[in-house]
Symmetry: C2
Subunit: 635 residues, 2 copies
Amino acid sequence: MDQACGPAVPTAESKAVQRPLGIHDVVITGGPFGRWQSINRAASIPLGLEQMEEAGSLPNLRLAGAGAGADGEFRGYRFQDSDLYKQLEAVAWEHARRPSAEYPEFVEQAAEVLKRAQRPDGYLNSHYQVVKPDKIYAELEYSHEMYCAGHLFQAAVAATRAGTGAELLEVARKFADHLAEVFLHGGNDGIDGHAEVETALVELYRVTGERSYLDLAAKLIDNRGKGLIRDSGLGILYAQDHLPVREADTAVGHAVRQLYLEAGIVDVYLETGDESLLECSIRRWEDLVATKTHLTGGMGSRHSDEAFGDRWELPPDRAYNESCAAIASIHWNWRLLLATGHGRYADLIERTLYNAFAASTSADGIRFFYVNPLQRRDDHVEGAYAGRRREWFACACCPPNIMRLVSSLGGHIATSAENTLLVHQYMPGTVTDGELALAVATDYPWDGRVTFTVERAPGTPWSLALRVPAWSASTTVTVGGESAAAVPDERGYVVLTREWRAGDTVELELGMAPRLVHPHRRVDAVRGCVAVERGPLVYCFEQADQAEGVDLPDLALPAGAELRVLDKDDLDGAGRTVLIEADAQVVSQPVGGLPYTTTPPGELSTGSRVTATAIPYYQWDNRDGRGMRVWIPLV
Amino acid sequence: MDQACGPAVPTAESKAVQRPLGIHDVVITGGPFGRWQSINRAASIPLGLEQMEEAGSLPNLRLAGAGAGADGEFRGYRFQDSDLYKQLEAVAWEHARRPSAEYPEFVEQAAEVLKRAQRPDGYLNSHYQVVKPDKIYAELEYSHEMYCAGHLFQAAVAATRAGTGAELLEVARKFADHLAEVFLHGGNDGIDGHAEVETALVELYRVTGERSYLDLAAKLIDNRGKGLIRDSGLGILYAQDHLPVREADTAVGHAVRQLYLEAGIVDVYLETGDESLLECSIRRWEDLVATKTHLTGGMGSRHSDEAFGDRWELPPDRAYNESCAAIASIHWNWRLLLATGHGRYADLIERTLYNAFAASTSADGIRFFYVNPLQRRDDHVEGAYAGRRREWFACACCPPNIMRLVSSLGGHIATSAENTLLVHQYMPGTVTDGELALAVATDYPWDGRVTFTVERAPGTPWSLALRVPAWSASTTVTVGGESAAAVPDERGYVVLTREWRAGDTVELELGMAPRLVHPHRRVDAVRGCVAVERGPLVYCFEQADQAEGVDLPDLALPAGAELRVLDKDDLDGAGRTVLIEADAQVVSQPVGGLPYTTTPPGELSTGSRVTATAIPYYQWDNRDGRGMRVWIPLV
């Protein structure tokens, strides 16, 4: 089949063990994914397009294009260009998903602005051109010049794959050629303080075939960790410049940087076959998943430096879990899936998508979280803010990043390998690898049954591989109504090989019993607590759903608490949901004096039985903004 | 008696219910207080004096004195002057404690530099004079101009009370007069983003009798919370400008700012009798103690904004607990004690002194903590640092602040009231209120027995009030070997009234059994844990003291664990100590995959019995720098 229309499409010569199916191969027609895509198109993207003018990204670039002496002032951060690039990427994928005359027009207009702003030598960065022309490439530790370039390349790749970006690609190539001239052939061994260009250069190589882009990506990765960039003031760990990537055992510093870097590392492995890159990335993945990942898939425990914390530092209230980190984690895991075919990466994508990522956007699509904690107290204040979603941010890296992932969701659902169609995520719609075409009917994740109907078959034996999430405690599979073996292989997939015929049906039924989840003993911050999950969804308790007199900070769950499931058409406007009711207790201990006593709290407190109600975590903060908890103390 | 030589000495007309005894009235001859004072004099102060040149404070002021066009560049932060002022204050109290020719010389030389730098109109701030002369008083939200002035006033007050600061007082008065001209009489309603000048102005009023200083302090406090300062970018809560002080119920924003502000509020109450000020400060104290205070007395839970967290946000690993916040808290509590006579403030001073504060300095006195967490993991990294004590800091607010408190410790031990000598803190030495003079013999806090021998008595009935700390579960008192009633009064003091004679002895015996302490149910971050305390000391478990094979993250204590006390002459060079051994367990759970399971961790882990060893928290990080925990999970 042709190269897929979607992000991260390895070349035919790559080491990928699976090829991604693109936005045209996977059509999403409903479920949460469908809802997010509708709202993204109807509400988020229009807001984002408005902000490209209002927040300064386009005006800055026009200013750069107007040349020296032009009227106007640069607005926003030095990486303000990148917001536009992510917005362009969102629009391109959205156009691929469902064409619209408006989107190519925006891409063309923006490309015009970029062409005018771009220097004859290919360099393009409105901040440095307007504000600091004498500092170009002179402060790479915090300049974000290559970071912005990376987002430009990704936008151009998306537009190219979506068939609407010839001019944008031209701008991107010109800039990439300039980078190659300076940093690959020109003797400049600098690297950008914020990794991101590496994965983008590989993608640009995939679209253009220009080998120097891949070589530059490889060089930038090899040069990291050699102290080639100065300390920006936040320490060299902040930018992962403390150790060569092949030597580092654990994710450190600014979370988004580390995670984009990992995506680039796996991309370079995919195209060069350098096994040492895949190995080191997997080593860090295992450490990160085991010791630095929140229940929601969120990563990055610290507000200070937007950093990973120490191992086992996983505070629910202070979890930073930047929305961009969830996105970068999905990018990385998608590439690891293509490189290894292991379902654990698709499992983590699912967990991150439905929880850390999905929570970032309000039900109406026009407010966003930058920070995604697992707990908010009623009186919460962070700086000047109460920690609710906001319409936009001075540093607006997250909203357009969210939009580009939602519009490209179809590119993260299924893959193909030798005579095999692999389905990693479940939603109603259609999936095809060009040979086997399936209609998918499901009410997932509200219900665990997913029904595949063959619409077209190759006429030769073909395998259908269905991911069985690690959380599913009871899985059944039927083919044409007949029970089939449902034990997943060592990679986590049930593989059905048949000579399929149109009309054949496969039914996968995943175990959707709600479950109480305990933290590892070493997770200090939620010791003695349990959380509720069901299917891929992490649940949370919001004050808004509790009965009169149930004060969230006093809520406690008995060990083995009974959990009941309650279908609901709509959660106060936030859409379809399934609530979980739990037999719980309110346990109150008097407050006053130091909160430390020689008497165990059990002897000081009194409990009473109540019913507590939980909602999917991703639907929180769509009501009155009072407290929320994922982790609830045991009685 | 004469006005005491010490910090915070209310006027005779003030509302103080107790008068402080000064550095000349209270002589400390041993115990931890004595050790800290020796090391402060021998090691810390010499280091601090060196840094006044090296870090730029004195050179900056010389530059300001040299006038426009002088060679040189301003170094450090805009509040660099304040380091010198705190150092001067330390030196002044140290001179009062034990005279030395060197100290007055330093004070005089510094006063000369200051006189030369001071503008004819009285203004004095090297940063604004050298770097931003056009911005004087124009950016009060972050300028620290009045903050620096406050530290100058405190230094001048200290030098005056110590009898070595005529010139310094002259400089201070001239600047204070200028502030009064501008901000009291001149129609400028500005306030400083960093509270501190308020308490200092009241002290300067006490030394000079100049009423406008008190009036200005009162005006600055009244003006706070009216939005008169701009948002510095960190939100108006950061600088407590969100609500008038009489309306605010809880401590918010930058912890040190709030705490210095509270000291100023109580000082203004003491001198003006405005009850509404005392009331609001006590209201916030009760809230802060109950919901935002760490076991060590440390305050300020967040690295971001160096801020208080939400109520119940008390993470042991991420506790910021700035050393300056502990100092400011002691200042505030000392004033509340003078205002109310309630022992709960002296209790908190004791807890803070021996734990949050004392931990800030290494045993050798030449390394300091800025941040004082209750847990450090082996692999801890914060920005570029491993979280160990450091010799100095770019922002060096803490070290000289520590030095001034240590040298003025004698001024925080005892007070006098109508025919009563009150002893709040116990250490070997002498205490006198001018009438009753006592020799104090004790091995406190290693031992609970404190023996007072009357050295001089007034010849009329006189009361001796001894604080009984809330932690003492069993207290006995004997007078001349005869048992006396040991039930403290409602303020927490055993009051003994006698016609004392020289040679009379009083023996106080406090209960020193080590104790397991539980957090309140609402303290999320240490749920399911216990800590060990003995006397006023919080204990911690350092990896350095554990047996081979005992990995700190796996250490657990059984409920009601047996605790054994072990006297030790020296803790590896960190001085006299008492260790506590506990019957503990090592409980290991396999690591790998997400750290969340439906199986309770108890079923996944295996335990083995070990003996764990705890040391006083304040003595931590004097060995190999590996992990430390105050809070240990229950088995």
